[in-house]
């Protein structure tokens, strides 16, 4: 689950990581109030108005403005709030800005990069840092990989002080900056583990003219597998950032990702669900969705999943591709029949069933009275789904 920058910074603050003084605003008036208060408190006219969306590249897209004075802050807030912000991460359709972060301006001496990810190869948490702050880290990694410093740690032991010092000196920090950066790294490492973050990025982490080390930006993604023990993260969820169908699917316990095509897919298992999309494409069709009903699905869940496909009016044929293992074919068949009876089914339904309790499953479908095109294997099923979608 992704969260907004202002939410990430609230968490940083809780862990003692310095962030600029600021506050979130959902309306222009509130943004103006915050700007006025910041100018009074800091004695500086400079404030920053930042669009809050779950995508990077906001500055280049015109979603971040550094301004002087309350009037200019009001103008910036009015322009940004409600705008359709297009960045390289939003896609061409962009995202509507519904939230702002208003912050004090900072006196920036240096811009660094800092990030934490799970290193899948080393099976440890990896701290990455670079002197090239403000740039996309993927670009730095591709062009100048030697400029990325790394340290690995095991969550039970934590990031050791010497590791953080090595990184700090590697970033060419000096004097009191070193201790401040070490504290930031240690606190972030604790936060990553305690909050079950799968990704934390601060780009840039700035060194101010006074030698303070401050998180000017913040990007945090939480591990969805840990949501059972991170209940308070649920409050950070911004549903306007989510695809409503994907969110509904998640709440019901299965995985759905919308695609652009017209062939609905209902599959068990993530690998087979991906492969089903692949083979539809191979046969000249376009999948309308990725759908993994999951191994532990009961008939009710399958029914709800199938209803999501039926309610997609772009769908011209539906391919049910099941290789029962944990999910039994009879359970799947009951769910499909239940959904089809409840909603009616107007488009061709192609079913390929194999695996646990396959005979019972086929029997349920045969007795249901539904018009079903049976496929002997997934290749035949995909061909039929593509042909019948075109018919």
């Amino acid at each position: 689950m992704k969260i907004h920058e202002y939410q990430a910074k609230e968490i940083f603050s809780r862990y003692g990581i310095p962030v600029p003084t600021g506050e979130a605003a959902f309306e222009v008036d509130k943004a103006v109030d915050i700007a006025g208060r910041l100018i009074k408190e800091t004695g500086s006219e400079t404030v920053v108005v930042k669009a809050q969306i779950h995508a990077g590249g906001r500055g280049k897209g015109g979603g971040v403005k550094v301004v002087k004075g309350v009037a200019a802050a009001k103008e910036a807030a009015s322009n940004i709030l409600g705008m359709n912000l297009v960045t390289h991460q939003t896609g061409p359709e962009g995202k509507k800005v519904g939230r702002l972060l208003v912050e004090q301006g900072m006196d920036i001496a240096r811009e660094l990069y800092m990030g934490f990810v799970v290193d899948r190869e080393k099976r440890k948490i990896c701290l990455m840092a670079s002197t090239e702050g403000g740039m996309e880290i993927e670009v730095v990694a591709a062009k100048t990989p030697e400029k990325i410093l790394k340290a690995w740690f095991d969550p039970a032991i934590g990031l050791l002080p010497f590791q953080a010092r090595e990184i700090a000196f590697g970033l060419k920090l000096e004097g009191k900056q070193v201790g401040k950066a070490v504290k930031v790294m240690s606190s972030l490492a604790k936060m990553v583990t305690a909050e079950d973050a799968s990704l934390v990025e601060i780009n840039p982490l700035v060194v101010t003219g006074d030698g303070d080390v401050i998180a000017l930006d913040g990007k945090v993604t939480f591990d969805d597998n840990a949501s059972f023990r991170q209940k308070r993260h649920l409050d950070l969820r911004d549903e306007s950032e989510e695809d409503p169908i994907e969110a509904e699917a998640e709440a019901l316990g299965f995985s759905y990702v919308g695609m652009d095509g017209d062939i609905g897919c209902c599959v068990n298992g993530a690998g087979l669900a991906m492969a089903t999309m692949d083979i539809i494409k191979h046969e000249g069709g376009e999948p309308a969705n990725f759908l993994d009903v999951g191994g532990g699905a009961d008939a009710e869940t399958v029914q709800k999943a199938f209803k999501i496909i039926l309610s997609d009016d772009r769908v011209k044929s539906i391919f049910v591709n099941i290789f029962g293992g944990i999910l039994r074919c009879d359970v799947l068949a009951e769910g499909v029949v239940g959904a089809a009876k409840e909603m009616g089914i107007e488009v061709p339904l192609i079913v390929r069933l194999e695996g646990t309790n396959v005979e019972i499953g086929r029997d349920i479908l045969a007795k249901s009275g539904l018009k079903i095109h049976s496929a002997a294997d997934m290749g035949e099923g995909a061909r039929m789904a593509v042909e019948l979608a075109k018919a």
């Binding site: 899948r120 440890k124 993530a270 087979l272 290789f323």
Partner: protein, 291 residues
Amino acid sequence: MTILVNKDTKVLIQGITGGAGAFHTRQMLDAGTNIVAGVTPGKGGQKFDDKIPVFNTVSEAMEATGASASVLFVPAAFAADSVKETVAAGMDLAICITEGIPTVDMVGVRAYMENKNTLLIGPNCPGLIAPPVNQKLGITPHSVTKPGKIGVISRSGTLTYEAIGQLTALGLGQSTCIGIGGDPVGGMDFVDLLALFEEDPDTDATIMIGEIGGTAEEQAAAFIRENIKKPVAAFIAGATAPPGKRMGHAGAIIAGGKGTAAEKIAALKDAGVAVSPTPAAMGTTLASLLK
């Protein structure tokens, strides 16, 4: 004749009294698996289905029954701790079926496993099935398998079944089939298992099934080029997956332009692996290597 298990391997089931654990224990018994014990903390002294003794701890179960391999059906919140218990008890093999374990917990498990002897398969996997010795340690439907000489390694459960089904339909039996799981951090990977199949005199060829996300397939390709003489076929799922989206499996995500199917397919082809063009041609692709 098989890898990781043989006909005498004694199997323990952790979480044997839970819904999934109980259902699949019965399925495994039907397949002929040599299950000697179960573990559910607090239910020690009971008998599962009136025949399999249940213990409170793994070490008790091992001592009493001589079990050397464990299959875990423990809920995600407790699974990492249970794997560590299995490792601490000195079990040879732990197979963790559980889906949804927090990644940080698995990083902790890997750290705990350092310098210890237990091999881990999974989590978030269908486990292992070895048709020649009638041992099924997991959830793969045994009805589609057939004893033989092909090794199967896969990151996906249902694609493992699919591959096995295709091989069986072509008359190609399997020596051992292992689902290594779909999580970002887990146990044995393609490289570890390719090495075991290479040494196994009764495995003639291997099929590996990968998917988008991570670099395990690229590592496998590099390893195959240097170390593997037996034929290898492959399929990579997710060529149509959009970047940045988690495709069901926690580990199946194209991040920062890395982990695409195209990169993995290119690396494998470069290493001389026969890559199946579609998921329906996995069996025939492997069969073409045996002529």
